[in-house]
């Protein structure tokens, strides 16, 4: 997920991205941003945040832990806002979605 400084809520999105660096996939030991699991973060005024994200595999055994992690991290960074998780498998996650840092952490 790339945040452009000219887009609305750019500062909030960067803050959200920073928070999500703390959410680690328990199996791969890589955070959800560098894994490329976060597709979009949308801010709706002052009230809610909608995260569109995926998992590395449908019915991933760690799926609930990862989505809970995303919700918890954003609740701490943005107290009082409602966090919505929009889970999607379109497009399906693939290796190309890893960031350079993610690749380095996986030893690619």
């Amino acid at each position: 997920m790339i945040v452009s400084l000219s887009q609305p809520y750019a500062n909030e999105k960067i803050k959200a991205q920073q928070a999500l660096y703390n959410v680690i996939d328990p199996e791969l030991f890589v955070n959800v941003i560098d894994l490329g699991l976060i597709y979009e973060i949308d801010f709706d005024g002052e009230n809610s945040i909608t995260v569109t994200m995926t998992l590395s595999t449908p019915h991933c055994p760690m799926g609930e832990a990862i989505t809970n992690g995303v919700r918890n991290a954003l609740e701490i960074a943005f107290p009082g806002r409602t966090i919505n998780i929009n889970l999607t498998f379109e497009p399906r996650w693939n290796f190309e979605m890893l960031t350079e840092e993610g690749r380095a952490q996986l030893g690619v």
Binding site: H59, P61, G63, T67, E75, I85
Partner: protein, 422 residues
């Protein structure tokens, strides 16, 4: 959250008893092996070896694999487990059944005790079959993996039914065919039907998942499925209805071996195209276990043509202790810590500093487990093939040490208390 179901794993109280029981039975069977190493250098139809083999096949191999399968069915079928209560029923029946059977075989008490054990194991297999069939009945995405899972559940039920009939036949003879010939069919329905097909199916999903690998050669898996089942069906049909000569047995073994080769080629392709280059110790142990099945297949001509039961026992040892045990030792710490971690920490992720699943067990002990496994397997094979009871005795000490380390590490995970890191 959107309405996509990300798959609720069955409650951990359903799955964890399988792991605890399996680890304990493995330790116990290694203890019995040490108590009577001579059972491995006699003819294979002896009470103590029958008890040990049934403990290995049902109390250890089936127990752990069935537990893991209940956890993984939602991942493979992309929907929730049909009925977690049935999964618990499977565990109760299997545990009771193996206690009855192990005692009855060790003391060669044919009759109600052995037959009751057989009935309990059949009921366990039936409960598992129902759960598998209904969990996989809705095809969201077609996959050969799902075919493997379904066929293996069928073969488990079939194997246990034949086993029950054999237990009855030991007391009230009704088969006209030689009991030892039927025992061969029963054993291979379990090995090539239940164990091989479940392991082929699950590993074809999990190995690429763990390695972040992929293969577009799914056709290989389809060939594997067809060849393994064709070889097994022909073997069972010929063996039951005709006098099967060694040459025809060899042909059926070649068919199954070709199926195994297709499956291993698929895994190799996923391994070659993996993102995660560094394989951890659990994956190394998994790959090593495949050597066990390859060596067992290479021994088949000796089993068929050399009139000496040590080749048959060696063949069985490579399958049960080399392949199935090796695989379980590797895969346990790829599944169990995650199940327990989920129970304690899935709601705390992103909120507090928490341990990772790998912190729930001792990685150093897993390293030792790997080394001792190699030594134990080499010594066991040497002892059996040289027909030397002393070497088997030394090997059994290594196996007991291995089982003790494994049991300790499994219990460390199971008894983990929630901890927040500072």
């Amino acid at each position: 959250m959107s309405n996509i179901n990300i798959g609720n794993a069955p409650p951990d109280k359903v799955v964890l008893p399988f792991y605890a029981t399996g680890a304990f039975v493995f330790w116990l069977l290694c203890l019995l092996l040490m108590a009577d190493p001579g059972s491995l250098t006699q003819h294979h139809f002896n009470p103590h070896l029958l008890a040990i083999v049934h403990m290995a096949a049902l109390g250890w191999g089936t127990m752990i694999i069935m537990g893991a399968a209940h956890q993984l069915l939602p991942v493979i079928c992309e929907r929730d487990l049909f009925n977690p209560v049935l999964a618990s029923v499977s565990w109760y029946f299997l545990t009771a059944g193996i206690i009855f059977l192990a005692y009855a075989f060790w003391n060669m008490q044919t009759g109600w005790l052995m037959i009751s054990g057989g009935v309990l194991v059949v009921l366990s297999a039936l409960a598992y079959f129902i759960n598998t069939a209904f969990t996989g009945s809705v095809f969201i995405h077609y996959s050969v993996v799902r075919l493997f899972i379904f066929s293996s559940a069928f073969w488990l039920l079939f194997t246990t039914l034949i086993g029950l009939l054999l237990a009855i036949n030991l007391r009230y003879v009704f088969f006209t065919k030689n009991h030892l010939e039927l025992l061969k069919l029963h054993a291979h329905a379990g090995l090539a039907g239940w164990f091989l097909q479940l392991i082929a199916g699950v590993s074809s999903k999990l190995v690429p998942m763990f390695l972040l690998g992929k293969s577009d050669k799914e056709k290989l898996l389809l060939y594997a499925f067809i060849l393994q089942n064709a070889g097994l069906l022909l073997f069972l049909f010929d063996g039951y209805f005709f006098e099967m000569p060694a040459l025809r047995m060899l042909v059926y073994a070649v068919l199954v071996a070709a199926g195994i080769t297709c499956w291993l080629l698929y895994l190799y392709d996923a391994f070659r195209n993996r993102v995660r280059k560094k394989a951890d110790i659990q994956m190394k142990q998994t790959f090593l276990s495949f050597l066990g099945i390859v060596i067992a297949i290479l021994l088949v001509p000796f089993v068929l043509y050399a009139n000496d039961s040590r080749w048959g026992i060696g063949y069985g040892a490579f399958l049960f202790m080399g392949w199935i045990t090796g695989l379980i030792l590797g895969k346990t710490f790829k599944t169990l810590p995650f199940i327990v971690w989920n129970r304690h920490y899935k709601n705390l992720s992103g909120k507090a500093k928490i341990p990772l699943p790998k912190n729930l067990y001792s990685e150093a002990l897993v390293q030792w487990q790997f080394r001792i496994f190699i030594a134990a397997m080499v010594l066991l094979a040497a002892g059996i093939l040289m027909n030397n009871t002393i070497i088997v005795q030394v090997a059994s000490v290594f196996w007991l040490l291995l089982a003790t380390i494994y049991l300790f590490n499994v219990m460390k995970v199971l008894l983990h208390k929630k901890t927040l890191l500072s």
